[in-house]
Symmetry: none
Subunit: 536 residues, 2 copies
């Protein structure tokens, strides 16, 4: 296959229907810009009839210079029993002043009679009139046949008549909607194929939802059956389980089905664009999301790591660079020696797998893993283990003593803990104290305060993430915990790990690693090795 496909993004309309998502006008403008940059053909950006905020957006968006995107407003057919030109919703869609409008109407007889409660004939007239109205105003009109597949399964003849009503009104494209998301690939293929046959020369589109986990598969099947217009949302946001995810569909259609969707040069922006949109929406992308997730090209099993080291095609369906993502090899008890050696080489390229240092590092790694350490995602702590065995490490300070006191009722609201700490740097003592919201917060503040006296560079370092995992939790409150700490100096970010039965102690270990890693980076001879990007 190599049909050119029209890509239609509804992040700003259907995507905004997802639980927890609420876009400001500024958010929407930023997302529109990203979609335009990556080369999306259509962006459906709101329903000016149902949401006055959308009108403000359309006015501002109308002034933007767009290279690829045609903007679309979305709205219902006229209501039953009134003339199209008297329908407020219909009129408000004109005010959005977009080159494209999307009109949705009912294709499932049950929805006509039981939900909007009109006659089957009136519903056909509503579709025809509304499409014709916008055609008369010079718009490109897409007819969204809502619940088309369920409608076809219930009453294929009537479902077909709704499409014909769209054509009679002059629709430029008939979009078959799998609104409830429950259809399966083979039926979507067969129904779409039958519809395509009925309307030779008409553009057929596909719009799916993910309630049975089939949104992308159903879209691919519709394309195989002849659909040439593909609707979705960029990261899959949408009502309930979401819409078809364009960040999965674009590479699948373009790389595997060879259907041009966006300019070939732009596919490498895929991961960046998806993560940016998710960031604007304040949603985390699940690590395992195909193509764009953090783990999408991450290898953990020893045999997988060995295979990918020999030939990446052994366990990767595409090259991650094609979609702007990256390959990562995790350190873990199931990962092999070759991975460890690779990490050692970043610091000491002369080591071999038989060097005594390599063997000692691997032995230490196993010991630490038995204690509950896990270095995947905490490669900086792992680098410190390596440095300690290669003689490339010197302690930057000595802990004399710390004491953390928490109490209830708290002495001061929001400052329930106090930490005192005494450290020694090159023979000089420093003793100080700090308060915080909980023991780790107080200890972090006190340690930094003491160390900044000697290492002013630490002023730029702060924690950005803190994670706790209880191991062997059956032993309850004295269980072993693993703490992961992510730090940044505003430029680089690094993650360290600590394990202990005492959460304060585990946090302390990770905190110390975080600080030592930063200070070690300053040391000339390690600079090269350690500033290589994480996880490469």
């Amino acid at each position: 296959m190599n049909n050119k496909l029209e890509i239609f993004d509804s992040t700003l309309r259907d995507g905004a229907q997802a639980e927890g998502i609420s876009f400001s006008v500024q958010d929407k403008l930023k997302i529109l810009k990203s979609l335009d940059e990556i080369g999306i053909s259509y962006v459906e950006a709101g329903n000016p009839g149902s949401n006055p905020k959308d009108l403000d957006f359309f006015q501002q968006a109308g002034r933007m210079k767009l290279g690829h995107v045609k903007l679309a407003a979305f709205g219902s057919t006229r209501r039953w029993g009134i003339a199209v030109e008297d329908d407020d919703n219909v009129k408000s869609m004109l005010t959005a002043d977009t080159p494209v409008v999307v009109i949705f109407g009912k294709s499932w007889d049950f929805h006509v009679t039981d939900i909007i409660r009109t006659t089957l004939e009136e519903n056909l007239a509503m579709i025809r009139d509304t499409v014709a109205f916008f055609k008369a105003h010079g718009k490109e009109v897409l007819f969204d046949a809502e619940h088309f597949y369920d409608g076809w399964k219930a009453n294929p003849e009537y479902a077909l008549r709704t499409l014909k009503a769209g054509i009679a009104g002059g629709a430029d494209c008939l979009v078959l909607c799998e609104t409830n998301g429950g259809a399966l690939p083979m039926e979507v293929y067969e129904i779409t194929r039958d519809v395509v046959k009925q309307f030779p020369g008409t553009r057929i589109g596909i719009h799916t939802h993910n309630d049975a986990g089939m949104a992308e598969a159903n879209t691919i099947m519709a394309v195989e059956a002849g659909a040439v217009h593909v609707q979705g949302t960029f990261v899959g946001f949408g009502e309930r389980c979401g819409n078809a995810n364009l960040s999965i569909l674009l590479p699948t259609l373009q790389l595997k089905k060879h259907c041009p969707c966006i300019p070939e040069t732009e596919l490498g922006r895929l991961t960046h664009t998806a993560r940016k949109i998710a960031e604007i929406a304040n949603v985390s992308i699940p690590h395992g999301m195909p193509y764009i997730g953090k783990s999408a090209f991450t290898h953990k099993g020893g045999m997988h790591i060995d295979g990918v080291s020999k030939n990446t095609a052994s366990f990767e369906h595409i090259d991650p660079e094609l979609v702007g993502n990256e390959r990562r090899m995790l350190m873990s008890e199931v990962s092999g020696r070759s991975m460890v050696l690779k990490r050692i080489h970043r610091i000491s390229p002369e080591m071999t797998k038989d060097s005594p240092e390599t063997k000692a590092i691997i032995a230490r790694l196993k010991e630490l893993e038995m204690e509950g350490y896990q270095f995947e995602g905490a490669e900086s702590s792992f680098d410190l283990v390596i440095c300690k065995h290669l003689g490339k490490y010197k302690p930057f300070f000595e802990l004399d003593h710390f004491k953390v006191i928490g109490e209830q009722p708290p002495l001061q609201e929001g400052l329930s803990s106090t930490a005192m700490i005494k450290i020694k740097v090159s023979g000089n003592d420093e003793i100080t104290a700090a308060q915080g919201d909980g023991p780790v917060h107080a200890l972090d503040r006190a340690l930094r305060k003491a160390l900044e006296v000697f290492y002013p560079v630490l002023r730029d370092v702060h924690l950005t993430d803190y994670k706790v995992r209880v191991l062997n939790s059956r032993d309850a409150s004295a269980a072993r915990v693993r703490v992961l700490i992510e730090s940044t100096d505003g430029e680089d970010a690094w993650t360290t790990v600590g394990v202990s039965t005492d959460i304060v102690d585990a946090s302390w270990i990770a905190l110390v690693d975080s600080i030592e890693y930063k200070l070690l980076q300053q040391t000339e001879n390690l600079h090269e090795g350690l500033t290589v990007k994480e996880n490469t």
Copy 2:
């Protein structure tokens, strides 16, 4: 279709390959129990050859009474150039003493020549010998044809010969693996159909990965093409983008394709089981996950809410109760009310949805949820909220003050924290102190010590589980944490929850709930309501 399907779960083996997942032996036993309860046929639980920790698991699992599950050990074919009975990996699989073994071998010629680097003929012998070895030891043997689909696309004749080698060895089932996760539904359908034709009377299985977002669709297509054995992981955990998600496949196959997979009565446990497994893995289920996600049946758009209020089939592909999930309406104030009412009825059957107490409880719940509380899996804390609003609660003690001190170096090995506490019960003071391994451990001990003076029944109570989840972790070490505590008195078990920016405070809240719940149970008039099993 209504073929009976064999369901094979690999959460404990392939699932453990996911980034960030690391199961303890106890975790694995708990997951095994959940999988057995819901009626899974096969559980693949580890690779005793590559991981000694797995052997410990198999020994303990062997002593469990399982109603449905047949346990399977997983391992490679013998290595090239040595006899099967001399291969340590092969031998170690026997020590797992499982009724079923899964042998994986290469079906893609490129992997044979370029990754494991042996001859095509030797690879066939490796498959045949290894399968035959385990058949001779009386095992049910599944042959996992790794990379089968990529292999078929590269060299169909050789891929087929690897299956025939499995048959020659006596394999009971040929599992076609879509290892790299890049295949599309139509090709999976066609290839599977061709294979099924070649092996009449042989059970054909399907094992897919989600790298192109097609894992579940490809599985459904393989079943349509004649596969009768379905592999996946319960929440989709797995290497890179994960494996086929059984919590999507089970309802899809059972409700939509009418293929029996698990006992019909158990499908209603689906959501509970998936969330429990995710909780054990300390992984959050994405809200939009089909069937089991929090948003899977959540309606936000006004027209959707209107439609669902008239007839739920208008915007729901299945009834959420069929999979143990629930409908939520985000715009509506009655959201979740029926669920809450159900729980209230266990304590006060006379309450209605319009009782002022019901309204007050719902309002309080919303407040707590805003603060980060989540009562899924912490129903005992939820019962306490109800009791407080029904006047069925009286405080069992008053906290005057506590102080927890942690220090390094510790005063005594393994006792890094000291807690002092002063409480009041019916006008009598009790002040005491205890040491522990970390602040929560010390505080737990001190509180019990003080309370046991007044409530000897607490001597039987102890903590069995302790979990910490960092919420909004971007705020780093002062982030809000949610602590879950599971307690037992040797007979019943109950779970309580606390949320705070201070981990000691969050643990304190959950500890107090745990103790108060136990004491409340002693009160005659609540006994009936509260001793009903959790999660019913």
